[in-house]
Every structure is written in C-alpha cells, then in structure tokens.
C-alpha cells in the first residue's frame, strides 16, 4: 500500500462527492488491521470509484505525471526554474551545504566515476555488464566488452534495469498481513514454522522461484533438499523456453542448448525466431555477428536472410525475404521444407503462395551447405525445433553455424508449465502448508486455465520475496522485500554457459534481502550474507591456494574464463517420430508474444521502458492488439478502436492497431500489461493477455473472437506516420545495384557542393566531431534510445504527453515501411541531433542559447534558453525536445540518486536535445590534455554508440583521417539526411543495402 500512502501526501484534487479520495481510502484501511486490511482493500478494489481513483492518483496517463507539478506549490516551481536561470535571473543562490566523508574509502577518487563488472540475470540467462558508479551510486549500465554474452553491447532491459533499482515504488519494508516487520522479527517469527517443517522433513514445504542458472543458488537449493528430503522446488517463467528443450528432446533424445554462429553463416532462415530482439538469449552476440555479416562491402559474401514470421518483429524486418504465416502454420511449412530438402518425410505441403518463396529458399540452402543456418523461434512447436535441428544436421550446419551443449537451465527436463501445474495440484490437494515464492508472480502471469490464486489461498503459510508488493505478494501472508541484482552478490550463466558474477554496486537501497539469504535461513537458520554464500560456494568449486587471485580476477573480469559449456557432438536423428501436426488454428488466430519493452511484465513499472516505443509499431505505454490491414478491413475495424477479445469464454478489452506485414486472419497481443499492482507507473495500463493464455496453447491459439465495443481507445505513438512519401530519407538499394553503382545514395538527391557559399566557411582546427550511422547494421532494437535516456537524465513524460507529441527522447528510431502493406520492407533510422554546420536552429535563437562550438558541435545551453521554441520549428529533423511542463522530477530522492551528475537536469520551459554526449567528450579531452596528447580515436564513445549491440553507430574526430568515423564517411554509401537543404549535418548515414535472392526479386 506504499503507493497509496505516498501519492496521497499533499494531494490537491477537487473533492467531488462522486470521487473517492485517497484520504478516505487510507481512513477505511486504517481501521482495518491484519487480514481484514486486505479484504477491505479488495472490496474497495471492486468499486468503480476505486478504479477512478487509481486513474487519477497513479501516474498512468500523463495528466497524472504532470499533475505532480500541480501538487507542488507555485514558488517551488519558480524556484526550480529560477535555480536553472541562475544569478542573472535576479535570484540569489541559496547557501549550499557540503558534506565530506568521515573516513573516505580509499579506492574512491571523488568526482571520477568507477566501473564495476557484474551481470544481469533475465530469467535463466545472464548478461555480463560494466556499471558506472558515481560516489557509490550506480548510474549507468554498459556492456562488458570482454564478456562473450555481451561483447560490449547491451539491450533495453540492461539499460533500464538501473532505473528499476531506484524505483521508489519498490517494496521498502517486510510486511506480515500488511504490517511492517523488521528482518530480525521476520526471522524470529518464521523460526517456529521452519522447525515444524524440519520435523516432518518439509513434507509440506514448497518453494516456487523463477527460472535460474545460478550455480551457487542451485547448490544451495540442493542443500535445502538434503535438509528437507520431502521438500519440492518448482520454477515458473511465463516467457519460457519449454518448446526449445522439448524440441531438442525430440531431435536428440535429451534437452540441449542450441547456440548459433552467424559469423560463419551465409544463408539464414528464421522459423519465427526473433534473435535480433532484446530478450532473446544471445541477442547481443547474434546481433553483433549478424550485422557484421550484413556489410554490403562483403559483396557476394554478404549474408542473406529469409524470415518466416507470424508476429511482426524487428528481426524479420531485417530479412531480405519474408513469408508471413499464422504462428500455427509455421510447423507445416517446416515439415514441407524438411521434405523438400529430403531431410525427412514428415508430410506437409507448401501452399500455392509459398511455393515460389520455398523453391528459391530450398535452392539457396542446398547451395550453401555448411554455411546455411535454420533457427526456430522459442514460441514455435517442439516439432518445428526438431525439424530445424534435422535440417541443420542435413545441411552440415551442426558444428559450424550451430552448436549444441548442456542446457543452461539446469531444470530444462520438466517444462515450466508442467512444474506450475504440479504445484497447483499439490496446493489444491492441501499437501502444501508452507509456500515460499521467490521473485516470480504467478498470480499475475499464470496461464488462465491454471487457477493458481485459489490454490494459493489453500496454503497455510505463504511467504513472498520480491522487488515489489505485486499481485502475488498481495495474497501472501508475508512479503519480504527482495534485492535488485545491483544490490546483491550472486552468479548466473549466459546463453553459452559462461559463468558470470553478480556483484553489488550499492548496499540494498531498501534493506532488502536476496533469495539466497532467505533460502540459507530456511536451510541452516543462519544469516549469512549473499556475499558469504556466493564466495563459500565458489571456494568449494575452486579450492586451492590461488582462490583469492582467481576470485579477484573473475570479479574484475565479471566472468569465469573458459566456463562456457563445451559443445556436444550430437546429430539429430532424422527418423524421430514427430508428434502429429497440430491442425492450423481454425478462424481468427491469437498470437501471444513477450513484450518488446516490458518483457513478461516484470519491467512494467519502469518508465523508461514504458516510454520506449515498441520497435515495430512505435506504440508506447500500452499493448495494442495488432492486426493486418486486410483483416481489419474484413472485420471493418480501424486503429484505436476498442475491441473485446474473447477466447474460450474469457474476455478482455484492448485497443486495436493496424500493422503492415501482419499475417491475415490473426492477431498479436503482447504479455506483461494490465498489471494491478506494478506501481504508480505500470498499474492499470493496457490489458493482461495472460487472462486469455491457456497452458496448452502458450504462444498461439485459434478461434479468438474480436468485437468492436464502439469506444475509441487512444494510443500513444511518437511516430505518427511510417511512410516516406517518396522522399529520399532512408536510401536503400539491392546488393546488385550497390555493386553496379556504389554511389547510388548520392544519385537519389542532388546536394549542394561544399564550396557553394558567399562566406568564408568556419574551419574546425582542433577536433571536428562527427557521427556515422549504418542503416544496414541497425536492427531497430531501441537500446540506444534507452541508453541515451539513462546517460542524459531525460525525463519520462507519460502516455498523455506522448499522445500530444511531447515525448522527450533525444535519440529516436524512425521506422519506415516501403511497399505493400501485406509485405513491406521496413527500415530503421536512428535520428539524433544532426549537429549541422549550418544549423538552422542557431540563427533563429534570440538569446544565443544554441550556438556552435569551435569543434563544430551545436551546443544547447539550457540555462540560457527562454523557450521560444523557434529553434525547434526551424529544425528540419525535429530532433529538439521541449520541456512543456515540469517533466523532470526534482522531488523524489531515489530518482535524484540515479541521475548522471555530469549532465544538467532540465527544468520547465527549456529546449533540450542530443549533445553528442558532450560530458563524455569533455572528460576525454581533459584527460588527454592533462597527459599533453590528443584525444584518441575510440576514446570518446557516445552512450548510444556504446550501447549498440550491432555497432551501427560510430562517433569520432573527422579531422583524424585514420578514425573509424572518417573511414565510414569516406564510404560510397555515406549520405546526409536532407542534405539538399545545405544544413551540412555532422551526423550522416550509410545507405541500407538488401541482399535479395534474384529469383524472388521479380
């Protein structure tokens, strides 16, 4: 209930009688105590007034976000703004305190950030990271270049995770039936029940956790199982890889981890696999290798990519040829393909409209034995996976582009759904009298046909440990506030099995405790810290004199060298009996997918991720129902219609969004929305697709009914229009054309020659910063956008403000569709400030707030800006962002800690924009000058560049002919956006080149 109390304070909303005031809620609750507390809340929660109050009180739409400011009193706002205005705004600076350490930590050099290696677990898989820390505050996540799972790249979840750690809505106390309990109290009250369980060998004790690959934790659990022989440990992940392992089971008789090597691949076929989307295990490495193999400079060696996809993904957008199928039709296609390749006669015929595509594909695959690669998506049927393995085997991919190893998930053998089903059954049968739920939220994300909640309520003692007082916590007696990975010790394994260490950047912000600490207490009733536990385990693994040095090195590197799981020389048995093909869904098919920005809902309360537009449809702050234009026409629906989805009697309401390239007679919904207790940011937005999701059809199901309710349901999208209107914005060609005329990009538009000026052009003697963005490499994953937000303290504005066209992202990624709405080519174009040499924005600023630096940067001086917005009007790229209201949060202390101290926090009424991360440039320059040298190439990396897993963004000094950026700009593909306006942009693009199969081009 923190939320209610917190937002309630100093709230000034017009008290109409029909409105339910927070004060009342608190009143009604205050009388209630213990269990009754919850019931009261539940009753309340039923009433429409409560819903209305949530709408009003919780920053779900921007009105609430901005109303935050209306809660502050007038002078305070002026104060904040004035402070930015500084002395010359006739304001006197207040006396500021300065508070030194008592004893200064000796590794700490004040004013200089430190970097620590750690790893972020997402379900089973971990990603190796470096985290920037200012005076003990983690502020920014970077990839770990040494780490095989990162190679220096990151994804949206990595970048945004730092905000989750500081989230003021995280649970800050342990509660018993809603009443606060200190940790010692928790332990002492639990002792009794633990003793009791010990006595009966834990026959009534069950543990439910998320999937994990942490060696130390697994060991700990085994310890627990020893202490309580009867105890059972279940795991649940809503976005799981059950099918992947089941597929391996079919093909090899054992669950295996499949890893791919794109660096050796020439022809790639994806059977509904979105390996270029954040959240796919190995995303960082695959994206890196894929984009390297897609350089058109490779000429004929350039990789060709075929995609068979159901739900539109940015992965398939990068494909040279796409086949849009219902999710349920992919298996049939795979079977037909296997037959066509003579791999296995498993039935299945290509449909008429697939034949052309298929025959070309088959030829291509056969022509590239050993360099071909077939991937099956996590959401595809086990059979599809088995077939993919078989085909890879037959094409000699195994050992070359594909390799197999022990599953990273130690519990791959039994599917997660099965585990949840068993637990539920046990709970219903009353076997369970003590349940420990660790960092998982089944009450919210369990399949609709598994009634987890009612089963849960049958358990005598329910203990929940997690970051939030979430839906599950709500129904547990105990909630123990957990720790974020940046607050705890531990370990995890990445997609290739490499063991990575999780080391804390900060001691638990809300004095939470890790899973391992709780389990340790259950096992031995001792209170060892996660540090002791992790070290104890590894000592046992790596006993010996050199442990200390080994440990220090591993912590420093962030991973255990050479711990990747060894490849298993297995071959797929072609004659495996595949299960009978599941008949293609009848009627309208519904496709369930993880959400591109909030995954399975665990990031629902992360404002950065909520405001990041979904890569393909550019919608944020919601999960619309995606549908093809043709189908919508047939059902005569249009975008932003509110529709009611009905599947097996279960109903939800949602907004419709028409999506080019969506298969007909199908709709796509993403998981993770419709949270009730996510927090002020994430509660009550979108709808929960879990309400429709059945355990036997996790990823797609037939026979969904779509009915327009007649209401309008507005969606927020920072990019209203996704067509190029025949303008040469993204310039693209086929490989053939590129080889014929490498300079095609320049022939599309005539740009004025550099000499064409009456004036003496400025020369930039010292440095001349510039950026080149390779449109061929960019996969549109949006990581750069979030990285920029984290690095530059960019405010979150909320859905309503985004709808009004006031989103603040300095770096946006534009999508453009080209061609038919059935099967368009989609291009991604990251658009930061172009840093024009003839900047149109500068000339029109009346107060010299935006001017050029001697290094050619278009400086924006926030504290000089009076906010005429003229510069934005005159910016042809519309990359400038304006603080229409007080968007930055100057009040919440946690959010202040998160901020990058090297970047001003912008107040109301000032313009802001991409600065090429001037703070990074300045620091590099100062370091260089102190060493009496020039800034080296690669020494300055912009946040977007550093975050990009695809190496699409390169920044550097144009005066240094040797720099990477100079080389790229020398490329024939290099062109300036709207260069015909003679703005002379410093940011330029390398034109996109597709590599289509000539057979299919006609």
């Amino acid at each position: 209930m923190d939320n209610v109390q917190k937002t309630g304070i100093g709230d000034v909303c017009p008290s109409k009688k029909d409105k339910l005031e927070l004060s009342e809620v608190r009143e009604r609750l205050s009388e209630a105590r213990g269990p009754q507390y919850w019931r009261t809340l539940d009753e309340l929660a039923q009433t429409p007034e409560f819903a209305e109050m949530l709408h009003r009180e919780f920053p779900k739409h921007a009105s609430e976000w901005t109303d935050k400011s209306s809660r502050r009193d007038f002078m305070k706002i002026m104060g904040a703004s004035m402070a930015l205005a500084g002395l010359s705004a006739c304001t006197k600076q207040p006396l500021e305190p300065i508070v030194p350490y008592v004893k200064q930590p000796n590794n700490q050099l004040l004013g200089k950030p430190l970097f620590y290696a750690t790893a972020m677990p997402l379900g089973v898989y971990g990603t190796g990271l470096l985290v920037e820390s200012h005076e003990g505050r983690p502020t920014k996540i970077e990839g770990n270049p040494q780490h095989p799972s990162s190679l220096g790249g990151t994804d949206v979840f990595n970048q945004a995770s730092v905000l989750t750690m500081y989230d003021p809505d995280r649970s800050q106390v342990n509660t018993y039936l809603g009443e606060t309990r200190s940790w010692p109290e928790v332990l002492s009250s639990l002792r009794g029940s633990i003793e009791a369980e010990k006595a009966k060998q834990g026959v009534g004790l069950r543990v439910l956790s998320g999937a994990t690959s942490s060696p130390s934790f697994v060991a700990q659990m085994q310890q627990l199982l020893k202490t309580y022989p009867q105890v059972k440990w279940y795991q649940w992940e809503a976005v799981n890889r059950d099918n992947v392992y089941a597929g391996a089971e079919l093909a090899f008789g054992q669950p295996l981890e499949t890893t791919y090597d794109f660096s050796k691949a020439k022809v790639v076929l994806s059977l509904d696999a979105d390996f270029l989307s954040s959240g796919f295990p190995g995303f960082h490495k695959y994206t890196r290798e894929f984009s390297r193999r897609r350089r058109p400079e490779l000429k004929e060696e350039m990789l060709r990519f075929y995609a068979v996809e159901s739900a539109p993904t940015n992965t398939a957008a990068k494909a040279d040829h796409r086949l849009h199928l219902k999710a349920s039709e992919v298996e049939a296609f795979a079977r037909a393909l296997a037959s066509a390749l003579g791999v296995a006669q498993v039935g299945g015929e290509f449909k008429e409209d697939q034949k052309k595509f298929a025959s070309a594909l088959v030829k291509d695959l056969q022509a590239n034995r050993g360099t071909a690669l077939v991937l099956a998506g996590d959401a595809q049927t086990p059979a599809t996976h088995a077939l993919a393995h078989a085909i890879n085997g037959a094409l000699g991919a195994a050992g070359k582009t594909v390799s197999y190893s022990e599953p990273v998930d130690p519990f791959a053998a039994t599917s997660k759904v099965e585990q949840l089903r068993q637990l539920t059954a046990e709970m219903n049968s009353g076997k369970v009298d003590m349940l420990v739920v660790l960092n998982t939220n089944p009450v919210y994300d369990a399949p609709a046909d598994i009634d987890f909640l009612s089963a849960l309520n049958k358990v005598g003692l329910r203990i929940h440990l997690g970051l939030y007082q979430d839906e599950t916590a709500k129904y547990c007696h105990w909630h123990l506030s957990g720790t974020h990975y940046l607050e705890q010790w531990g370990d995890t394994r990445s997609f290739d099995g490499t063991v990575s260490f999780i080391q804390p950047l900060i001691s638990p912000l809300y004095s939470g405790h890790s899973e391992s600490e709780l389990i340790e207490f259950l096992t031995n009733e001792d209170e060892a810290t996660s540090y002791a536990l992790t070290q104890r385990y590894w000592q046992s693994q790596h006993s010996g004199a050199d442990f200390k040095s080994w440990w220090d090195r591993s912590l420093h590197d962030g991973f255990v060298a050479g711990s990747a799981s060894p490849a298993k020389p297995v071959t797929a048995s072609a004659k495996t009996a595949l299960p009978a093909i599941t008949a293609a869904a009848s009627g309208l098919e519904i496709i369930f997918r993880r959400d591109a920005t909030i995954f399975d809902g665990r990031f629902a309360n992360n404002g950065w991720l909520q405001e990041t537009p979904k890569p393909m449809n550019q919608v944020c702050w919601d999960n619309p129902v995606l549908m093809s234009v043709a189908t919508a026409k047939r059902l005569n629906l249009k975008s932003e219609d509110e529709v009611e989805l009905e599947l097996n009697g279960r109903k939800v309401k949602a907004a419709l969004w028409l999506t080019p390239g969506h298969p007909d007679d199908a709709i796509t919904v993403t998981l993770g929305y419709g949270r009730e207790k996510a927090g002020r940011v994430g509660s009550g937005i979108g709808f929960s697709a879990y309400k429709l999701r059945a355990s036997n059809a996790l990823w797609n199901a037939g026979g969904v009914r779509v009915r327009a309710t007649g209401e309008h349901y507005g969606l927020a999208s920072p990019q209203g229009h996704q067509m190029m209107e025949g303008r040469a914005i993204v310039r693209a060609a086929t490989l053939e054309e590129f080889i014929k005329t490498p300079g095609f990009a320049h022939e599309m538009v005539e740009a004025p020659p550099p000499g064409l000026t009456m004036y003496q052009p400025y020369e930039y003697k010292e440095h001349k910063w510039g950026m080149a963005i390779d449109l061929n490499s960019c996969v549109g994953c949006k990581t750069c956008t979030v990285a920029c937000q984290a690095e530059n303290n960019i405010a979150v504005v909320g859905k309503d403000q985004v709808k009004r066209g006031r989103h603040m992202n300095w770096l946006r990624i534009d999508n453009y569709h080209e061609g038919s709405p059935e099967n368009p080519n989609t291009y991604f174009q990251p658009v930061p400030c172009m840093q024009c040499e003839n900047a149109p924005c500068e000339v029109v600023c009346p107060v010299t707030a935006t001017v050029h630096s001697s290094e050619g940067l278009n400086d924006m001086v926030y504290n000089r800006c009076v906010g005429t917005r003229y510069c934005s009007n005159n910016c042809p790229y519309k990359v400038r962002r304006f603080n229409f209201l007080l968007f930055s949060d100057f009040d919440t202390p946690q959010l202040k800690f998160q901020r990058n101290p090297e970047v001003s926090v912008r107040s109301r009424g000032v313009m802001e924009k991409c600065t090429y991360c001037i703070q990074r440039i300045t620091h590099a320059r100062i370091d260089a000058e102190e060493e009496n040298r020039k800034v080296r190439d690669g020494e300055v990396m912009t946040a977007c560049q550093q975050a990009c897993p695809a190496e699409a963004i390169v920044f550097g000094d144009l005066n240094d002919s040797g720099s990477r950026v100079s080389k790229l700009k020398a490329s024939q593909r290099n062109y300036g956006l709207l260069e015909e306006l003679n703005t002379r942009p410093r940011t330029t693009y390398l034109a996109a080149v597709r590599n289509p199969n000539p057979e299919l081009e006609s």
Binding site: Y759, A839, V843, V851, H852
Partner: protein, 178 residues
C-alpha cells in the same frame, strides 16, 4: 497673488482673417515681443508675427543619425568583439541581418527627438502662463483668436499699444497682468 505685473495687452478676434491682418499690422508697427493664440494651426499667423523657422527638423535628423549608428554598432560590437561565436555558420559581421534593427533604432530615436524637441522648444510643460489670466482666454481653445503684445516689447507702451490694438478689428482689448 503678489502685486500684479503687467504681462501685456490682448486683443480678441472672431475670424482668422482679422487676426492675421492685425498681426501683420503689429509687426509692421515694429512690435516683436508678441504672440497670437488660435484654436487650430494657422501657418500664416506665425509668419505674420515674424516666426518663420523651427529647429525641430534638425533635432529629428540628429536623433535619427544617432539612433542608426548606435543601433548598428551595438550589433556589430556584440557579434564581432563582445562575444564572437559561430552561429549557424554565418559570418560574425552578418550586416544584412543587422539592417532591420538599425532601421528601427533610427526611427525610434528620430521620433523621440521630434517630440521631445518640440516640447522643449515650446517650453512645455508650462501649466501656468500669465495669458491664462485673461478672462475670456478659454475661447482660445474653442473658437476665438487672440493677439497679445507683451509688456516686455521695447516699443510697448500701455496707452499707445492699447490704442493700436483697438484700431484693429478686435472685438475686445484687455490688459493681462502676471
């Protein structure tokens, strides 16, 4: 009111014609320190009493020149020496962009010079003036015309001057004291 000093003799007329001819006579008669009062501007009257030229235009010109120069050089100085900085790749001395403000400053200064000049030369504001002591002077701002020969005039002599004015078409001749 302190003991009264004679300010002059005032003659009142009904038509401008009468006033003008009276003025001409008086000027011919050698009177110089005199003034005529009319409810609307009449070029000829001023000429008749020998007041041909005004220095208002000169002042205005001066104001204009001052304004123009200061206007331009302020901009020039700001952008070339006060804080020279590259704005959108334009030259530091972008004189074409400076034209507008130069022009505006010219007009502004000239206009102010004209008005302030006119008022000061006219010795305004001057809410108190002996002529107001004339009992019927309110008519001067309505429909009557007045000629006042001041006592300060060397040729002034109460007797003669009064007679002289009575000899004109004046409907009334009266002394005005200060």
């Amino acid at each position: 009111m302190t003991e009264s000093v004679l300010h002059g003799v005032v003659a009142e007329f009904i038509t401008p014609d009468e006033l003008v001819s009276a003025c001409k006579k008086a000027y011919a008669a050698g009177y110089r320190r005199m003034d005529a009062y009319t409810p609307f501007p009449l070029e000829e009257v001023a000429d008749a009493i020998g007041f041909e030229k005004t220095r208002v235009p000169l002042l205005t010109l001066a104001g204009g020149i001052l304004g123009g120069l200061s206007g331009f050089f302020l901009q020039y100085w700001v952008h070339t020496s006060a804080y020279p900085v590259n704005v959108g790749g334009r030259p530091l001395n972008s004189w074409p962009s400076f034209v507008i403000i130069t022009f505006e400053m010219t007009i502004l200064f000239a206009g102010i010079a004209a008005v302030v000049g006119m008022l000061t030369l006219n010795g305004l504001p001057q809410p108190y003036h002996p002529i107001f002591n004339h009992p019927r002077f309110t008519a001067a701002s309505r429909d009557r015309f007045f000629l006042c020969i001041e006592a300060a005039d060397p040729k002034f002599d109460l007797e003669q001057t009064t007679h002289f004015l009575e000899a004109t078409d004046a409907v009334d001749v009266a002394e005005v004291t200060d």
